[in-house]
Subunit: 436 residues, 2 copies
Amino acid sequence: MKHLAHLQLDIPKSENPRIVIIGGGFAGIQLAKGLKNKNFQVVMFDRNNYHTFQPLLYQVATAGLEPDSIAGALRPLFEKQTDFYFRMARVTGIDVDKRLIKTLVGEIDYDFLVLANGSKTNYFGNQTMMERTFPMKQIPQALDLRSHMLQNFEQSVMVKDDYEKDALTNFVVVGGGPTGVEVSGALGELKKHVLPKDYPELDFEIMKLHLVDAGPRLLSAMSEKSSEKAQKYLNNFDVDVKLNTLVKDYDGKKVILSDGTEIPARTVVWAAGVTGNLIEGIPEESIKGGRVAVDEFNKVVGTTNVYAIGDVSLMMTEDNPKGDPMVAQVAMQQGRLLAKNFVNQAKGREQVPFRYNDKGSMATIGRNKAVVDLPKFHFGGLFAWFVWMFIHLISIIGFRNRLVVFSNWVWNYLTYDRGTRLIIRTFVKDKKPKTS
Amino acid sequence: MKHLAHLQLDIPKSENPRIVIIGGGFAGIQLAKGLKNKNFQVVMFDRNNYHTFQPLLYQVATAGLEPDSIAGALRPLFEKQTDFYFRMARVTGIDVDKRLIKTLVGEIDYDFLVLANGSKTNYFGNQTMMERTFPMKQIPQALDLRSHMLQNFEQSVMVKDDYEKDALTNFVVVGGGPTGVEVSGALGELKKHVLPKDYPELDFEIMKLHLVDAGPRLLSAMSEKSSEKAQKYLNNFDVDVKLNTLVKDYDGKKVILSDGTEIPARTVVWAAGVTGNLIEGIPEESIKGGRVAVDEFNKVVGTTNVYAIGDVSLMMTEDNPKGDPMVAQVAMQQGRLLAKNFVNQAKGREQVPFRYNDKGSMATIGRNKAVVDLPKFHFGGLFAWFVWMFIHLISIIGFRNRLVVFSNWVWNYLTYDRGTRLIIRTFVKDKKPKTS
């Protein structure tokens, strides 16, 4: 945002108590929608004017979808909501004693504050990795990765040096969770079906794909059966899966693994973990493991009128001492329940404690293959892939996006092609933004 | 492109004479396609890996379409073409005596050279306008304009100062050719149908649209009837058209016109003209009015084996002393004919001189309105608008793009909405790229 000095937060006071929501993700949107015309003033802040459907971000990175297919502008979601205000502004801190939040465009007080600002890439303090690898949390990051990848292929037909050619065409993905597995599968598909048509001069045998995970199996949050299947599917796409392995060092050209293996690679995707987006001013005693500790009503431990929902929050109970997974379903359910509890509270009714209704989890691996864990049983293969597509389509916000995503998928499927191989953001490594 | 020192042009010599084409636009693509399997080696250079369908660029700028809808990757167009090489590299100069071209990744010799590198925005030497206004020739420029516009609206709900609020919501478009008219119409539609839903806090009466042209009528290349209609349609969209008027000065906040009018505006779109993309090494005597003078076979005057087609070329004949207009149709027809003439030349047959087959011209003005000039008659209104849509749809390269553009248009038409209002490239004025 430019000319910040000209700007000010100018939200009129209304009769309704003011709920300030920081973050327009899965959690914040559900909360704000649930508060529609319920006698609250809702003020939402986000640094972007859009919501990102993160489960499909990897398809933007691998040239399968355009950003507008997996993101939606926030304002249209609240078009007919009275006493609702959206402000595109970065929140820089909160003051729980004075009950106000600080942004780059000024301060604003609140009656209730809800932290719904999600998570960011976790580099576990490794500065080298932060500077040299590609995170996968935001749309600009996915576009950077796409541009980098396509530019490297354009360069690979112009290099003589074999080591450099290897480095330009190899990919190392760090982290065997859903993001790492899905990116690897998509890269496998690009290698098998898409890129060889574009670069007949290149021998695609040299393009090597590696997926590295520190743990003993892929998709550790899913069933062992699904982990095994995912690994098998990835192997069919020529992805070399290295388990119980860490990245020891990376100089931008060569990855050194804990088992001593050296891999020339100009592209390393960092999908090894996420951590909460913590804002300055959250009391020290409320922070647990990089997230904000909440009770079972999503109220931040040790504060008054401050709540946290979604990825940024950590709800540890006796039944569930590790808390729920950092996934969209938890965020949405917490957002919806908190809206109801605000109403309950206002009407003097009892509040309902949060229990995660786990509807299952899944991951897709390239063309035709996916793994699905439902509470009662697990399955994989082509049918799982159709289930994965169906669930993701119906989950995407807005009829238009669904239509665009569906058309793109049908097109890609039938033609073995990807529509969006344009290098529009010329990506320069030295200028890589430090956001995560 | 990074690591340039590592790169080299490594095009194997074949038995076929080598034709180097600089530029993968309308002209270059038609030429290269026409040379498919005709016993020539074709080497195409472009600084991008994609072709831009420029007639619809204004829809990207005004949030109607995503870039991938109006651009297509170049490589897939030539997938099955033997002895064809594409190199994404910037050409820095040519040496017509040594018969070689210079690029950032090395030099390469040619048997025939074809300049097909189009045109760029013409600021007529005005440095102030170049630095402070938005050109509309390339996809990144259109995305910059879109981001700038949407960011300004996000800011406008946070400013108190009335002058600043005016400046953030006003638009001045300079140049009444097709681009200026179409941008103005699209902005009018945004004002009327789209933005008020997003910003209920704003009074859209304050959003003023101005179209300024130095000449006595809009669309000066079209019929007078069409000029009049275009102006009437624009007036219906609340666009204030100022003819015989020049921009005298602009400090980034306030436009001063030659009639003394002062308009607060943070956004000025510069669509006042284009000029040829001239490469170093073109002989001085071959340059006429910022373009490359060619004979009626598109051969560059005063050179051997060097040709120029499309916008960069200027073919002045006795019948047509001003040359043909700088439009896609001319470029495509010249590209197709030059391919045939290369074959004629190789077979010792006579070459065919170029004559532009003018199929007509058109411009659209927002929803439901367009003007069309056919060689025999002129018409406007709703039917013209359908004709405009039909012609643009069938002209877009690739079935997939046609489908995507068509779906977007149907969606936008039925819902009075625009799907792509995301601010992804955070745009900072000071960092505005100096490309044009």
